[in-house]
Symmetry: C2
Subunit: 513 residues, 2 copies
């Protein structure tokens, strides 16, 4: 058995089911092993940022790491932006990066690059295999690293000779370290704050945004008068009827500072105290008052459900139902507005829908209008590296098992970064509806430019405007095998969305905004 075969056997033994791939020459023995050894579904992405973004979406919906198959340093480099987003989402991923044979590396052939150097900034764990006889063990440790709470990126670099040499030995799955229990001192400290202080904010992040944790947080808040908010950007929020009507910390500095101005005590539940996405001249980096105390209830590697439950019990907080969100909105009519699109979405989305949200500037206000939608999941771009939405939607569809409709709210400028994901949606026949928010400009940047103090002139607009020529998203989608239609009104958008949800195929709506 060669090293590549021991690798595939080990990944299968370790519970992996899926490999997102864009292979090259140095990975041919791995590809051959995948061909011979059943157990891993292989999904091709036409560029590596599609591959890594799919692995992120897959983890967020399945809780299981996927393998990626990438080609040498530059192939990894192409996928770094979505690995950056995945790192910020704390997603577990096992990257397998093929590379030059160990003895060939010193010759510095054209494709030789600093693969480890590029991997390190996004990886919780990096190793370059050195011997085919230990590749199985290397892979088992990689999967363990990816699965260790809260989830992390493990990158195993596989020089070609460690794949093709004989002597490979499949390794058994290593135990995943149990998630750490909450710190009792932190629980008692939080309880004391909540009993004794006013203006306490409970900030939820990561797994604290699943329904069970939300209900516990609501129980605590109801008993104590504390507020509950979600972080600004979240890997996955369980939302809709039966879930808490959570709001997020706003993105714009002024709005965030206003929203948090009364906070005196901040209890963090797998979250981080809010800071600006960027700094701006004369504006604060911290979005909460400088004098506020910050109290972590549970850290990323700790069990937030147990922490919240212990806190609720410590407080003697009674059980309480989450509030009813009122009637489900109806499809809006006329020219697209953010509120109208959000209401249309709430009106049409099926129960169990997965919303992936790279709507950027247009979508900041979608939350309040979708609380009364059926239960659904909402996945955001977590690291700010645009080009996340389409691959995330694709991977989420696969990670959720293929029978839940994914609706990807996609800004056009960001969508152009990774449009190749549409082809994978067509090939894998995935139930993904992409709504392109087509304003033909980098609208967020025009706003930022105006904040600098002027309206953009012709040179600036040459870098901020996506017209001239206009992108035709129908042709782009159809060119990759995805059916598409254009909508100029919300009722058209609602009709197309409803039609697409009734099918199993991918579909794209270019919504002219």
């Amino acid at each position: 058995m060669n090293g590549a075969e021991s690798l595939v056997h080990t990944l299968v033994k370790s519970g992996l089911k899926t490999c997102f791939a864009n292979p090259g020459t140095s990975e041919m023995h791995f590809v051959a092993a995948l061909d011979r050894i059943p157990g891993l579904r292989c999904v091709l992405g036409l560029q590596e940022n599609i591959v890594t973004g799919m692995a992120d979406g897959y983890w967020r919906m399945s809780g299981r790491p996927a393998a990626t198959l990438l080609h040498c340093g530059p192939g990894l480099a192409n996928g770094l932006a979505n690995l950056h987003n995945a790192r910020r989402a704390r997603s577990g991923i096992v990257n397998i990066v093929g590379d030059q044979a160990t003895y060939h590396r010193p010759y510095d052939a054209q494709l030789t690059a600093d693969t480890e150097g590029w991997a390190r900034p996004v990886s919780a764990w990096v190793r370059t295999a050195t011997d085919s006889r230990r590749v199985g063990q290397d892979a088992a440790v990689a999967v363990q690293a990816a699965r260790t709470a809260p989830g992390g990126i493990a990158t195993l670099i596989l020089p070609a000779d460690t794949a093709w040499n004989e002597g490979g030995e499949p390794a058994e799955a290593l135990p995943v370290p149990a998630i750490q229990p909450p710190d009792p001192h932190a629980v008692r400290g939080a309880a004391r704050l909540l009993r004794e202080k006013r203006n306490v904010l409970i900030l939820l992040g990561g797994p604290a945004l699943r329904a069970e944790a939300q209900a516990l947080a609501h129980r605590i808040a109801t008993a104590t008068g504390a507020r509950v908010l979600a972080e600004m950007s979240n890997a996955r929020v369980e939302r809709g009827r039966g879930r808490l009507q959570l709001e997020r910390v706003p993105y714009p500095v002024d709005a965030a500072v206003e929203a948090l101005k009364d906070v005196e005590h901040l209890i963090l539940v797998n979250s981080k105290a809010p800071v600006g996405f960027f700094a701006y001249p004369g504006k604060p980096s911290l979005h909460y008052p400088e004098g506020a105390t910050v109290h972590p209830l549970t850290r990323y590697e700790e069990d937030c459900i147990a922490g919240l439950r212990a806190l609720a019990e410590e407080l003697g907080a009674p059980e309480v139902a989450v509030p009813d969100p009122g009637p489900r909105p109806e499809v809006a009519r006329g020219a697209p507005t953010p509120e109208g699109l959000a209401r249309t979405l709430a009106a049409v989305m099926p129960e169990g829908a997965i919303i992936t949200d790279e709507s950027v500037s247009f979508g900041r206000g979608f939350y309040p209008h979708t609380h009364a939608a059926p239960p659904h999941d909402w996945l955001q771009i977590t690291g700010g590296a645009i080009g996340c939405g389409m691959p995330l939607a694709t991977g989420a569809a696969i990670g959720a098992g293929g029978d839940r409709r994914v609706i990807n709210l996609q800004a056009d400028g960001s969508g152009m970064y990774t449009l190749q994901a549409l082809w994978t949606q067509a090939r894998e026949k995935l139930p993904v509806t992409t709504i392109i928010l087509s304003n033909r400009k980098y609208q967020i940047l025009i706003g930022e430019y105006q904040n600098v103090g002027a309206n953009p002139g012709p040179t600036a607009m040459s870098m901020l405007d996506l017209g001239n020529p206009d992108l035709d998203w129908l042709q782009l989608a159809q060119g990759m095998g995805v059916e598409a239609a254009r909508a100029t009104t919300l009722e058209q958008c609602g009709d197309l969305l409803a039609q697409s949800c009734a099918s199993n195929a991918p579909f794209l709506i270019e919504l002219m905004i």
Copy 2:
């Protein structure tokens, strides 16, 4: 004057004319400065690997570094693959990478990443600006680094506050260190070898592939009986009638070893002794005989023209004309073959054409059939990171002044990596004809798979096949504003190519192979 303004003034003073850009929030002050201060043409790319690939093509045709404008670590990461290719081409580029404000970086906001860490492996020079008052000086040093022979990548990271703070001072251009003269010992040693030994190969790379150097190498070879070859992958070769009928070291290991088996002495002229692109089991890493002596005539930082001239004079080699390549081929007919396409290209290309070649497996034999074409330039993918062709063609068109036809020979799988470049071709109205070699598979990898010893099964083919669904390149091109047509025969391809060369607009031909 703020730091960003001092930066733009300094870039202009240092002779830069062009900025390839994909900006974000942290670069708004730089964008505003570009808007206010004339002198830099700003060209938008819809993803950063387009931006960096354009800068590479621009340098190769103009010999002048362009600036790139990239957004934070992930924006740089998106452009690393084509920076890797540019590094291997030894192209000069000045990357300006906006980043978090210096005082905001410790807060580790979502988009914060290890920008320097990602930049280092591709950069000859990296600096993070720390003070708006010194940004001008930083920029002048960056341009100097990019221009120092043979050319290099300089990356200046610009924290947002160093752009917006006042006190900026434009810096004068720094002198570019003169290219180093050849080492007289190396010249005399090469002359001795050529006089006394047989089976000497002169291997040309980099600027030694321009016409003047070729003519000198031919003069030396004619006088001494040495062979002359080009390296396998070259940034720019001046070819066609009046230039030397150079062949390249072949890509496949067996062919390369066969071509070099009689070499006893290797004289390197801005080149590197040939090694395998990849290692293969049981095949050598070195493609020349182990016992051969390797003698560098000129190194990358040295003047190869002066070196070759000194060598010709040392040898007393008489002036000699380069051989006539015979009659110009005619357009081939019928089903596309590599030879037929090469002959069609030679028949139709206008004088002064620029060929960018990412034809991968289909195009390896194009050289012999295009010697009798009119004088033209041939640009290859130099680092093996696919997705180079379309951005390279776009930047080459701009770097050549906009009046020379660029013909991009583009494998379909690689083309999908950076198809967004077509939009920039349409926006800038560039004379680029893209010929997509549409075989709907990663053909090179199917060959490599078969070399591993088997035919690919269904799982392997799911990662090697680009059909299901077929890509429709006409719709993809038209969706980005580029006219396109399909050809199934060489005469159709020849007609479409001729038509496109008669216009000033971009055009795409999907050639079904």
